[in-house]
């Protein structure tokens, strides 16, 4: 299984976190798909010249969050439902942020129409 993971020694993030973020990134971008195999814990430790415990921790967290599934003796694979899971999670966060915006708009006595107008206006900025 060829996937590229690069570890930075000057990063503020611990190594296991860097691995988690990069594997998640590959899953979100579609570079890794359901059923794709990941390098074994020990292979990855050797390739990245880090300790077995560190790669193990990264895989365990990815497993816990539902991104990968590990089978003893067979290795670790990308799980199926994680894209939907992620979208759902993000939608919830998005709703929380909208709620905060609505609260603020009430304090400023803005109507819903005005809020939408402002958003339309700002949309051009974002692009």
């Amino acid at each position: 299984m060829d996937i590229t993971i690069t570890i930075s020694n000057v990063s503020k993030d611990p190594i296991y976190k860097q691995i988690i973020d990069q594997i998640k990134g590959m899953i979100f971008s579609g570079e890794l798909n359901e059923g794709d195999g990941l390098p074994s814990i020990r292979n990855l430790a050797r390739d990245l010249q880090i300790s077995v415990i560190t790669t193990k921790r990264a895989y365990e967290e990815l497993d816990k969050e539902g991104f990968i599934t590990s089978f003893t003796g067979k290795g670790s694979f990308v799980s199926g439902q994680n894209k939907d899971l992620l979208r759902e999670k993000r939608m919830r966060l998005f709703e929380e942020e909208l709620k905060a915006v609505i609260k603020e708009s009430k304090l400023l006595h803005l109507s819903m129409e005005e809020v939408i107008d402002i958003m339309k206006f700002l949309e051009e900025d974002v692009q």
Binding site: P14, R46, Q49, I50
Partner: protein, 288 residues
């Protein structure tokens, strides 16, 4: 979880030296680095594990067996790589191998031939003519060919150039691809350990400082740099060791979280390396 090596309340003294109540254990399939300054008791501990010297007190269990009582059985499963030459210098690799092979029930000649080839060792070369790096590779080839599941190495990287140390690390990484292999090695070259070691056991003047997973250690410790005028009595207590100069201080803490609250605005907080941890623990407070 199966424990391959367990040291319990180990004591040994001779002359001025005292190894005091050493405790640690190592799980199967992992690498432990054993660090400490020269004279801290690393070699003594390894000799006790190998039953080369007699302990005063305590227990050493290897594969669940007693290091003294079950020495013969244990040694079948240990590959020992020693920092001094334990071979007969005038023999060739092949001749020495024949002697060693005879000691082990599970000797695997095919395996040995593969390792000799992979390690680029000439079997007809006389041992006295091998470099230190080649001797270590030879010792590893022997260990791996007699079915060892625990590799114990005393200072394998000392006196080796960086290129060979890097080669040795790759060899060790290949060894631990087999999850039944456990490696324990002492060293004072901490940069190698910063990569491969899962656990670090640190002893200082015969006392255990810690035996923990390397990641936990590196997350806990930090280096703080700031102005010397900040160092009042209470602040000093936060540190394990302080290096004070006219241009400021540099100090080691084992409570990074607390340090981040205390020194967030006044100092620089950096990751501590294993070398920092070792140096500041051993030297304590110094003024330059």
């Amino acid at each position: 979880m199966s424990i391959v090596l367990e040291v319990k309340n180990l004591k040994k003294s001779y002359g001025d030296f005292r190894l005091n109540n050493l405790n640690f254990k190592l799980e199967k399939g992992y690498v432990m680095g054993f660090i400490g300054e020269n004279g801290a008791g690393k070699s003594t501990t390894i000799k006790l594990i190998m039953n080369l010297i007699k302990k005063d007190n305590g227990n050493i269990n290897i594969f669940g067996m007693d290091s003294v009582k079950d020495e013969r059985k244990i040694k079948e499963k240990i590959g020992f790589v020693y920092d001094e030459n334990v071979f007969y210098g005038m023999l060739t690799i092949n001749e020495m191998k024949k002697i060693v092979a005879g000691f082990y029930k599970k000797w695997d000649e095919n395996k040995f031939q593969v390792y000799i080839k992979n390690f680029e060792l000439n079997p007809n070369k006389v041992i006295d003519e091998l470099s230190k790096g080649m001797k270590i590779k030879f010792a590893l080839a022997l260990a791996l060919s007699h079915g060892a599941e625990l590799i114990i190495m005393d200072e394998p990287t000392s006196g080796l150039d960086p290129a060979f140390r890097s080669e040795l690390m790759d060899i060790l990484y290949n060894i631990i691809q087999d999850e039944n292999m456990t490696i324990f090695f002492s060293t004072h070259i901490t940069t190698d350990l910063e990569k491969i070691a899962d656990y670090i056991t640190f002893i200082n003047k015969g006392e255990l400082v810690f035996s923990e997973s390397k990641d936990e250690v590196l997350e806990k410790y930090a280096i703080i740099k700031g102005a010397s005028k900040l160092l009042d009595g209470d602040i000093r207590k936060e540190f394990i060791g302080i290096r004070e100069t006219a241009s400021g201080f540099k100090a080691l803490t084992s409570n990074k979280q607390k340090a981040e609250i205390l020194f967030k605005d006044s100092c620089k907080i950096e990751k501590a390396s294993l070398e920092d941890i070792m140096v500041y623990t051993v030297r304590g407070d110094i003024r330059v």
